[in-house]
Amino acid sequence: MGLLAAGLGAGIIAIGAGIGIGMIGKSATESIARQPEASGDIRGAMILTAAFIEGVALIGAIVCILLALQIGG
């Protein structure tokens, strides 16, 4: 049961993080296309936001690992 939960959780995390980072990438490339001279600033903001999403996704992933390894009951 823990393994099933971990697998499902990992899948849902991947969906969520994928949508989030995909939306960042979409709007960042659109902004760069509209304003190529601001590409440096946009890239910085993009990496920063992606890092935040990644952080949430990784915390979820850690929970899944704990579930799969049966740590903490």
Binding site: G44, I47, L48, A51, G55, L58, I62
Partner: protein
């Protein structure tokens, strides 16, 4: 510059073709699986240099007394300690209060710190002599140093830490960037270990950022954590706990992010190389060895990706540290803002 880049590329190529062999040459895991995945990830009491294990000293603090041994074997020979399921314990049952033993991850953390120190000393000596400060920087290495340093000073510190305050934090941000970059890159070398794939190391780094953030907090920062100016008092009941939890989740996420990224890269490489042995087990040696061509090529590509991720994660750690410090050190100007709101409502009335 071009020759240096070519040399760097050649080094990467040699390393990425060498390291798979090193991983593959290890003895199989205890659980019967053909390759020892966890053994590649966990901390050890030895470091490997060119395939030879160098055992590191064990230091224990137990019942008010320190015990020093040059390695695990001599600790066991002395009769004071014995091996158990959970690790090393005292023979007479007294609990080991603190295990100060030097481990492979700790050694590589020290290597990272020493490299950062040496580079900074070397560069500082050159700048003091006038090379770079009065004339143009000379040589590939000084230019490379300057690229990194100016990048961190201008694009990270100046950008996210307000006002003139950024000068205080450039030293921390630069040293943490270099140390993490070195620690991440050590994992790429044959027999090397990247200590950032250990949660204790990243948690320590995040704790340093946490304390620097809290100590550089201004009055405005604390006001925003505990009382929210211009917010209904009842909303504070919800917002204050959230903000206080937020103080701790920020460095927590910082630690987990670096740890999980480095660990996943490590596991991925070991697993992909492990396919050779799994296929050998399943379909015979001929198929395993032939398919190895694909896996080694894939691993070499992954190595290049890992080198990129190593620098990217060091950048992200430094960037987020700067953002958190900047958020704490920021000074708001509520008075103007509130008074302008007040006048606006006055006009409406």
């Amino acid at each position: 510059m071009q020759t240096a880049l070519r040399g760097l590329f050649l080094l990467l190529l040699i390393v990425s073709l060498q390291a798979p062999g090193v991983i593959a040459a290890d003895e199989p895991g205890e659980s019967g699986s053909p390759i020892d995945v966890m053994g590649k990830i966990l901390d050890h009491d030895y470091i490997e240099i060119a395939g030879k294990k160098v055992y590191l000293p064990r230091i224990f603090y137990s019942a008010g007394q320190f015990y020093f041994y040059s390695n695990t074997a001599s600790a066991l020979d002395s009769g004071e300690f014995e091996m158990s399921e959970a690790g090393i314990v005292r023979s007479d049952g007294t609990p080991v209060a603190i295990d100060f033993s030097i481990t492979s991850h700790l050694m590589y953390v020290w290597f990272g710190i020493i490299f950062t120190l040496l580079i900074s000393w070397w560069a500082a000596r050159r700048y003091r002599k006038g090379v770079g400060s009065e004339t143009e920087p000379k040589g590939v290495w000084q230019n490379l140093f300057e690229v990194f340093f100016i990048f961190i000073r201008d694009d990270i510190a100046k950008e996210y830490i307000p006002g003139e305050k950024y000068k205080k934090y450039v030293t921390y941000l630069f040293s943490v960037f270099m140390a993490i970059a070195f620690m991440n890159l050590f994992g790429l070398f044959p027999w090397g270990v990247s200590p950032t794939a250990d949660l204790t190391v990243t948690a320590t780094l995040a704790a340093i950022t946490f304390f620097i953030t809290q100590f550089s907090g201004t009055k405005d920062h604390w006001e925003h954590v505990f009382l929210f100016p211009g917010v209904h008092p009842l909303v504070r009941i919800i917002l204050t706990p959230v903000e206080i939890i937020g103080l701790f989740t920020k460095p927590f996420a910082l630690a987990i992010r670096l740890f999980a990224n480095m660990l996943s890269g490590k596991i991925m490489i070991v697993c992909i190389l492990g396919l050779i042995f799994i296929f050998t087990d399943l379909f015979g040696a001929a198929f395993g060895v032939t398919s190895g061509v694909v896996w080694v090529a894939l691993t070499a590509l992954l190595y290049i990706l890992k080198a990129f991720i190593a620098l990217l994660q060091a950048y992200i750690f430094t960037l987020l540290s700067a953002v958190f410090i900047g958020m704490a050190a920021e000074e708001h100007h509520h008075e103007e803002h509130e008074s302008s709101v007040a006048t606006a409502t006055d006009v409406n009335v």
